[in-house]
Amino acid sequence: MRACNITRRFWKVWYRNLVVNRQNWKVSFLPPLLEPLFYLLAFGVGLSSLVGRIDYGGSQVTYVQFIAPALLAINIMNNAFFENTYSSYVRMYYQKTFDAMMATPLTLEEIITGEIFWGATKSFLATLIMLSVISLFGLVSYPSALLILPLSFLGGIAFGSLGMVFTGKVKTIDLFNLPIFLFITPMYLFSGTFFPLEALPSWARLLAYTLPLTHLVDMTRSLGAGRLDASLLWGLLYLSLFCAVFFPLAVAAMHKRLIA
């Protein structure tokens, strides 16, 4: 990947996706609006009474308070990852959108950057909606929770880059099942999302801390609870490094796939 191949022109690719999305925004905004409601209903009313209170950061929180920020983190992961796998793959393989773009002054690097930034934008927009819903129930504290918004963009770039690596590698669209089964589902369950990591044996806890979602959950939880401490910086460092590794890998994988 050559950095000089990325100019501001990548926003044109991003803009193309925005224009398309504006036409069906009502459908795409429904999941982030309804999903937290479903979860809060299921866990808040259903499971909460079984679980009771959870010890978090030295104080007792309700189960719903515990999982609400994690839902935001999962939402950030899913929006970018699914946009830059299934949707990007459809544009690349079935619609030949990237082929048409590559015959213009756009570089491949700009196309991929535009796609990943679009995935991050979807994470951001979904977070904006979901955070509003969660706030109505008084489950996060302000103003620190506002920092979840820029964080959602960074997280979106991290998970979008990861998704784009798979888009560059899979032979058929059905094979996305594999990374979802191997990475996304385990992260969804074991990143301190629905139970505290302290419940796991230490080796599993260490393993969990290699996963990006664990760090993202830690951060949304801290920001949601209004706890601004040094652990946030570690999370930030981890996510930035993750982007610095997987973004170039994504470009390289797509380069190998499209330019032969």
Partner: protein, 311 residues
């Protein structure tokens, strides 16, 4: 006299010893050609001849294994972005944006060239009426017919007002009406001075549009030249075709030392001014499967690339 003939302007496109290999397979092998400004240059060849691979190298889809390529006097390796800003490309596969309307396809595509929005809109309107799609401007691409999609691809390729138009099999799969309409539009663009490079396996298309052409097969150039010259050199002016020839006729043809090709059920006799010969042969024919016609590019093509099936 035109001053340009005295000091000819440099060619728009020059390819020197282009080579492209995938592992041990060589798709394009030592291909050199030049496209002068204002001309239409054709690359002909059967399926798998290397036509598409050759032109994919022009817009950076496929890095060359060897050779050099200059477009507008610039090396493609170092100036791809500025070169791509000045070319229009119609790829073989339909890659219109199905998520957008006809007009949005034009507008968004103009954005990739950094065209300011008012200019983009103005050009989009003008080009849509050029390809007779103005009344479909708000339709989704998927609602268009195959011919309309091709015309839209052409209009989209012109949005940056290119100095070179590259067309990869522009009329494959179209009905005769649509094909003629695309040809008419391309002829109009030629008249306006646009330089065009096209690949095709329709000989009629090549004869009608191309000032010069080359015939490729198995990655190499077989011949290059002006269509009428190629016909004269390789086939002659006339062709006599005899269906189901009798042995006596074959003996006659061989005895006379004529240039001919025996396809089993059909024999083709080539040459100049075959009128008298035609009288002679048709009188010897017991059946009426004997015709005299003008030689075409297709005769050259089949003579040079052979008649066996390719895929």
């Amino acid at each position: 006299m035109d001053t340009r003939t005295v000091s000819p302007s440099p060619p728009i496109l020059e390819a020197f010893h282009l080579r492209k290999s995938y592992g041990s397979f060589t798709a394009v092998d030592d291909v050199s050609f030049a496209v002068p400004a204002g001309q239409c240059f054709g690359i002909l060849g059967p399926n798998g001849a290397g036509k598409t691979t050759a032109i994919r190298m022009l817009y950076g889809f496929s890095p060359m294994t060897g050779g050099a390529l200059r477009i507008f006097g610039m090396d493609v390796r170092d100036n791809l972005r500025s070169i791509k800003a000045r070319i229009g490309v119609c790829q073989q596969e339909n890659n219109l944006d199905p998520d957008l309307t006809v007009f949005q396809n034009m507008e968004i595509f103009a954005g990739y060239f950094n065209l300011p929005r008012p200019l983009a809109r103005e050009r989009a309107e003008k080009l849509l009426s050029f390809v007779a799609l103005k009344n479909r401007r708000d339709d989704k691409v998927m609602e268009l017919s195959g011919g309309m999609m091709r015309r839209l691809v052409l209009a989209r390729a012109l949005i940056n007002d290119p100095d070179l138009l590259i067309l990869d099999e522009p009329t494959t799969g179209l009905d005769p009406q649509s094909r003629h309409s695309v040809w008419q539009q391309l002829e109009e663009l030629k008249k306006g001075g646009l330089t065009i490079l096209l690949t095709t396996h329709y000989m009629e298309e090549a004869s009608r549009l191309c000032d010069r052409l080359m015939i490729m097969d198995r990655g190499r150039i077989l011949v290059e030249g002006i269509p009428s010259d190629l016909i004269r050199t390789y086939v002659g002016h006339d062709v006599i075709e005899v269906a189901e020839p009798e042995p006596a006729l074959l003996d006659f043809v061989a005895e006379k030392g004529l240039a001919y090709e025996n396809l089993g059920h059909r024999v083709m006799i080539y040459g100049e001014n075959r009128n008298t010969l035609y009288q002679e042969i048709s009188s010897r024919c017991s059946n009426d499967g004997c015709i005299l016609r003008m030689a075409t590019l297709e005769d050259v093509f089949l003579k040079l690339t052979g008649r066996e099936l390719r895929d």
